[in-house]
Each structure stands twice: as C-alpha cells, then as structure tokens.
C-alpha cells in the first residue's frame, strides 16, 4: 500500500526524523490559510506547493489543463512582497493545481488528478543525497541504500554510476549497527555535526522500516541544509499489504481516490485484478498461470485487457464478480477463461461460469479452457448450458481462438 508524501512525513516526524514544517490542503482556501502560519513557524518567506499523488517525478511533471504549471512549485513572492504576496501566489497556484491532471514520467500519459496539496517551508539546500530502506531479495534482508547523487532517479545512478550507490545490510535481529551508519556517513562524505545527525537519522529510519513493515522507504532527496541540518525533503513510503493487519493506523491512511476503482472492487471481492490496455479479458486461477495467459495472448498477436487471478478456491459468486469487473472495462472485446483446476474443481468453476454469463448478460465472445480435477464434468456443464461459449484444449489454442473471434 502506498501513502502520500505528507503522510510519510507525519510518520517520520512522529518518530523523531527531521522533516520540514508543512500543512496538507484539499481546497484553495485551506492552502491560502496555511501560508501565514507556515512562514511564521519556519521564519522563512519561501513556501513550496507540492502535488500529492501516488507517483514520482512530480517536480518535472506538468498539468494537462495548465501546461505552464509544474507538479511542485517554489513560491518566492514572499521574499519581497511579504505574507500577502505569498498568499496571493499560493491562491493562484492552488486554483490551477487542485482538481487538475498531473502528468509525470510515472503516471503514464493519462496522468493523475491532484486532490491534495502539501504546503511546506522553503529549505536552503547545501547538498542533496539519496537514502532508502528496502528488501534485498538475494540476502532475504533489508538493506539501506545511500548515494551522493540525490534528487535524480536512482535507477539512472544504478545504471550509469553504480559505484556511487552504498549499501548496508540490516540484520533483522540487531538492526542497523552504529559502525554501519558511521560507514555510510563517511561514504557520503558527511562531516562534523551533520555526520552525527545523519547517523541518528539513518538508524531511526531503518528501525521505522522494520517496525512498520514497509516495502520501501525512500528519501530523495535527503538534504543537508546550509546550516548543516540533515532533513528529509521528500518522503515516500510503501507498506507490505500482508502486514497491514498489525498496523491499523497505517491501513487507515489508504487514499481510495488514488486506486483504480475496478482494482478496488476486485480487492474487496478477494480477487487479484490489474487493468491493462488491451482488448482480451482474462480470468485465470493462479498468479503465475494468469501472467502466462497474458503472455500467450500477446504471443499469438493479441493484447491482454487485464490480469485477473481468482485464486485457489473461487466461489460461484466470485466468478460472477470477476466477469462483472472484466466487462466493466469498455475496451474488452472478448474473454478468455483459463482454469487448471487442482483443488478448484472444474465442475464448480463451470457452474460458476454458466451462472455468471447469464447474470451479466455477456455481450462479447467467450473462450473457456478447463483442465484438471473433474474436467469432463465441467465440459459437460458448459456444453449443456447452451451458451455461446467456445472451448479450447490448451492455453495456446484458447488464446488463438479468442483472438480469432474478436477479429471476426
């Protein structure tokens, strides 16, 4: 589960990690109202207005409706014009940003609607660094990743100058040890008071990651101010969905407006659904087989409309919901059901398919491939239901048949 920057900073602040002063706003009025207090609190006339969406690259992103406005804007009007000038500029910006569509390298061309802004104090930056805590799958442990190359995409750093990425493995029984934090500080060439602050910062961050079951914590950039303070200028956190049961306060931070409605509906129905751009809907049991089904559709020249895994023990109701979710996508021109029943019996799935097709009054061609437990009985149920269903003997044959049907 992803959260917004302002939420990540709330969490960090609550655990003693230094972040700039800031206020979240959902309306223009709230944004304007935050300015005076922010300037007073930080004793700095500069205010930054940041779009809050679940995607990176906001600083360089622009709005569809206002191509001249960036996703993150530094308001300097207050330096000469005082609070009222800053407020006027924030009012103008907030009006343009809220409700508009921000397009960044990570949102795709369709962009994302900005419903929340984060207003933050300006910071005088001396150095921009990179810091993250994430799982290293090859060692089955979290690692702290750090780099002197902050403020740019870390993937590019990894590609072009991999020697500039420092790593420290976190022993789950011990946490990040002092010597490791000290070595990172030296590696990043942080000296004096800042070094001590950094050591505390990275140890707390690593502990936070472990305590809160994060998938990823990324601070890019982590800055050292001209006054030598170490502070998180940006903050990104994503959490392990499987561990949310023990973090209700974090589960409550989910912003449903950031999620695809069909994907949310699927989640609530206990289905695993991801919308894609193609025209062939897929309904499959098992994540690996679902991916392989998408691949096979592509291999025979089609484009999958979705990933959908009904899981190991889907009920008739879930199959019906799966059909509803797939057909709610207007791009879907045909559906391919691919089931290898292990524990799931083919006769049960077949009955579910028959019921679902009747319930949703299916308007597009349907190809069904059944294999596994009680397959003969399953095929008989589908044949006798007198539906417009084409059956296939293998995954590949099924993919070819649905493609043929959608093209005829």
């Amino acid at each position: 589960m992803k959260i917004h920057e302002y939420q990540a900073k709330e969490i960090m602040a609550s655990r003693g990690i230094p972040v700039p002063a800031g206020t979240m706003a959902t309306t223009v009025d709230e944004a304007v109202a935050a300015v005076a207090a922010l300037i007073e609190r930080s004793r700095d006339p500069v205010v930054v207005v940041k779009s809050q969406i679940h995607a990176g690259g906001r600083g360089k992103g622009t709005f569809k409706e206002h191509p001249e406005v960036r996703g993150v804007n530094v308001v300097t009007a207050g330096i000469e014009g005082g609070v009222s000038a800053a407020e006027a500029r924030v009012k103008e910006l907030a009006g343009q940003m809220l409700g508009s569509t921000l397009v960044t390298v990570q949102t795709g061309p369709e962009g994302k609607t900005v419903n929340r802004l984060y207003l933050e104090q300006g910071i005088d930056i001396d150095r921009e660094l990179y810091l993250a805590v994430l799982l290293d799958r090859s060692t089955s442990r979290n690692i702290v990743m750090a780099s002197t190359e902050g403020g740019v995409e870390i993937e590019r750093v990894a590609e072009e100058t991999p020697e500039k990425i420092l790593r420290a493995e976190v022993d789950p029984a011990i946490g990040l040890a002092d010597f490791q934090a000290n070595a990172l500080a030296r590696g990043l060439d942080i000296t004096g008071d800042s070094a001590a602050q950094f050591v505390e910062f990275v140890k707390t961050l690593s502990r936070t990651a472990a305590d809160l079951d994060t998938d990823l914590v990324e601070i890019n950039p982590l800055v050292i101010t001209t006054a030598g303070e170490v502070i998180a200028l940006d903050g990104k956190m994503a959490f392990d969905d499987n561990a949310l049961f023990r973090h209700p306060e974090i589960a409550a931070m989910r912003d449903d407006t950031e999620e695809d409605p069909a994907e949310l509906a699927a989640k609530d129905a206990g289905l695993n659904y991801i919308k894609l751009d193609g025209t062939i809907g897929c309904l499959v049991n098992g994540a690996g087989l679902a991916m392989a089904t998408m691949d096979t559709i592509k291999h025979v020249g089609g484009e999958p409309a979705n990933f959908l895994d009904v899981g190991g023990g889907a009920t008739e109701e879930q199959v019906t919901q799966a059909f509803q979710i797939i057909t709610s996508d207007p791009n879907v021109e045909g559906i391919f059901v691919n089931i290898f029943g292990g524990i799931m019996r083919c006769d049960v799935i077949a009955a579910g398919i028959v019921q679902a097709v009747k319930n949703v009054a299916l308007q597009v061609p349907l190809v069904v491939r059944l294999e596994g437990t009680n397959v003969e009985e399953g095929k008989r149920i589908i044949d006798e239901a007198d539906l417009d269903v084409v059956s296939a003997a293998s995954l590949r044959e099924g993919a070819e048949k649905i493609l043929e049907l959608t093209r005829s």
Partner: protein, 307 residues
C-alpha cells in the same frame, strides 16, 4: 530415487482448520504417511480420516482408508511421539512464521509452508532463525512437494502426476500443474515436483533444488518455471551453466507485465528495470536452458532438451 520426500517421509500437519483438514485427507488418500497434527487447543484428542483411496498415489493399497492421527499441543511433543521428519504448515498468515520456527526448533528436517500472505518481515526473521539449523523450508505460498507414487505434501492434485524421470521446480502453483500434466502426457513422468513459492523471501530457491536434482540419479532432466521479479532465475542460470550436466527446460511468466504492478504474487514485480522476463530468458538461454515460448510448450521444450 527422488528428492526431498519419499515413501519413508512421515508428516505432521500444523494448522487443522478447514484447509488443513481437507488437504490432510487428500494426502492420506494419496498414500502420504500423515502421523500427527499440532493444534494447541485440541491437544490430546484425535482426528479421523476415512474415504476412498486415490489410486493415482502410492500403489498396492486397499480401495478405502481409515486413519486416525493424534493431535499434540506443540511440534516438539509431536516429533517425540511420532518421529515425524517433515511437517506441512497451513497455519493462518499472521501465525505461520512462528509455526515454521517451532518446527525448526523441534528438529523437523523438512518444513513445507503452504500459507499465502505471510508478512515479508516475518519471513526475513524466519530466514535469520533458520541460519545454522538443519531444517529445510519449502515455501511459503507454494503448492508443496510431491514424489509421485510415494508422498504428496501440499495442495497439488495428485492424479496429474506420474512417476518418471523429470524434476519440476517452480515459483507458481498452477504453472507447475501445467508442466506436470504435459510431462505426464508425454510419458516422461516426474521424479519430484517442487513448488518453491511466489513470495520475495522463501526458504528454498531454484539453486538449491537444481543441485538436488543434479545429484539425484533418477532425474534425467529438469523443468524450471520462473516469473518476473527478483534475480533468482538469473542466479539459477549461472548454476545450470556451471554445475549441471542434465538438460534443463524453462519458462518465465510475465513477459507482458507492466513495470511497477505486482502480479498477484508478492514477489512478481518489475521495479527499477530489474526482474524483467526478457533479462531472465536471456540469462537462461545463454546457460543452455531450452525456453518454452508459451506454457503450452513446456513439455515439448523438455523433450527437445532431452534430445
């Protein structure tokens, strides 16, 4: 021969909810030697299973079975009383990591964790706990392990399997069934099929299983089925090139998966340009692994690799 499990494997079940009961029953029907169960509040009682024998399993048995297994409060007591050398974990995700560690502490040689949805941090701690211990963990979030005709631990349908000469190792459950089914239809059969699971942190990786298959005299060829995410397939390809004399066929799921989207399995995600299907397929091909273009071609790819 086979790997990991055989006719001498005796199995405890941890977690006797609906799922655990159902699969214990099908395992007994298959002929697996289920010898005890662990359940803290039902300790001292027994569980009875009876029904029609699955004749695709261990040969030479009666048409029906009637088996009673004792329930113990903890794994240590169960091991002491039954001498079990394996356990299968159906415990719910929030308690599963503890169940795995309990089995390891009791000296169980093989722990097969079927449970899906265990927090990653829990598995990180489990891996740390298992360091220096002799216990081998398979899974979690996997279909289990089967040596056809001898022992079935897990949730795979027994009847698609046939004893033979191919080893199967996979991150995906249903894709394992696809491969097994095709290998059976071609008459090659399997020595052992191992599901290593779809989570980012798992007990046993491709590399471990490939080495076991290489050392098993009965296994003549191996199918390995991977998917996007991580670099386990790339590491496996290096081992295949460096250490394996036996032919290997492979398939990678997720060629069409978009970056940043988690494809069902917690481990199946392409992020930051890492873990792509293309990189994995290239690494496997350069290690001499015969790649199946679609999952329908896995059996044929194995046959081609065997020559």
């Amino acid at each position: 021969m086979s790997i990991l499990v055989n006719k001498d494997t005796t199995v405890l079940v941890q977690g006797l909810g609906k799922t655990g009961q159902f699969h214990t029953d099908t395992a007994i029907a298959y002929g697996t030697r289920m010898v005890g169960a662990v359940h803290p509040t039902r300790a001292g009682t027994e569980f009875h299973f009876e029904g029609e024998t699955d004749h695709s399993g261990v040969p030479g048995r009666d048409d029906t079975y009637s088996v009673t297994i004792p329930i113990f409060a903890g794994v240590a007591e169960a091991v002491e009383a039954t001498g079990a050398n394996a356990s299968v974990v159906y415990v719910p995700p929030q308690f599963a990591a503890d169940a795995i560690m309990e089995a390891a502490a009791a000296g169980v040689e093989l722990v097969v964790a079927i449970t899906e949805g265990i927090p990653v941090a829990d598995m990180v701690r489990v891996k740390r706990y298992l360091e220096g211990k002799t216990t081998r963990l398979i899974g979690p979030n996997c279909p289990g392990v089967i040596t056809p005709g001898e022992c079935k631990i897990g949730i795979m349908p027994g009847y698609i399997h046939q004893r033979g000469k191919i080893g199967v190792v996979s991150r995906s459950g249903t894709l394992t069934y696809e491969a097994v089914h095709q290998v059976t239809q071609l008459g090659l059969g399997q020595t052992t099929a191992v599901g290593i699971g779809g989570d980012p942190v798992n007990g046993t990786n491709f590399v471990d299983v490939l080495r076991l298959f290489e050392a098993d005299p009965e296994t003549e060829g191996v199918i390995m089925i991977g998917e996007i995410g991580g670099t386990a397939e790339e590491e496996a390809a290096e081992i295949v090139a460096a250490e394996m004399s036996k032919p290997v066929a492979g398939f990678i799921a997720g060629t069409t998966a978009p970056p940043g989207k988690r494809m069902g399995h917690a481990g199946a995600i392409v992020s930051g340009g890492r873990g792509t299907a293309v990189a994995k397929i290239e690494a496997m091909q350069s290690a001499g692994i015969v790649i199946a273009e679609t999952p329908s071609d896995m059996g044929d790819a194995m046959a081609r690799a065997l020559g």
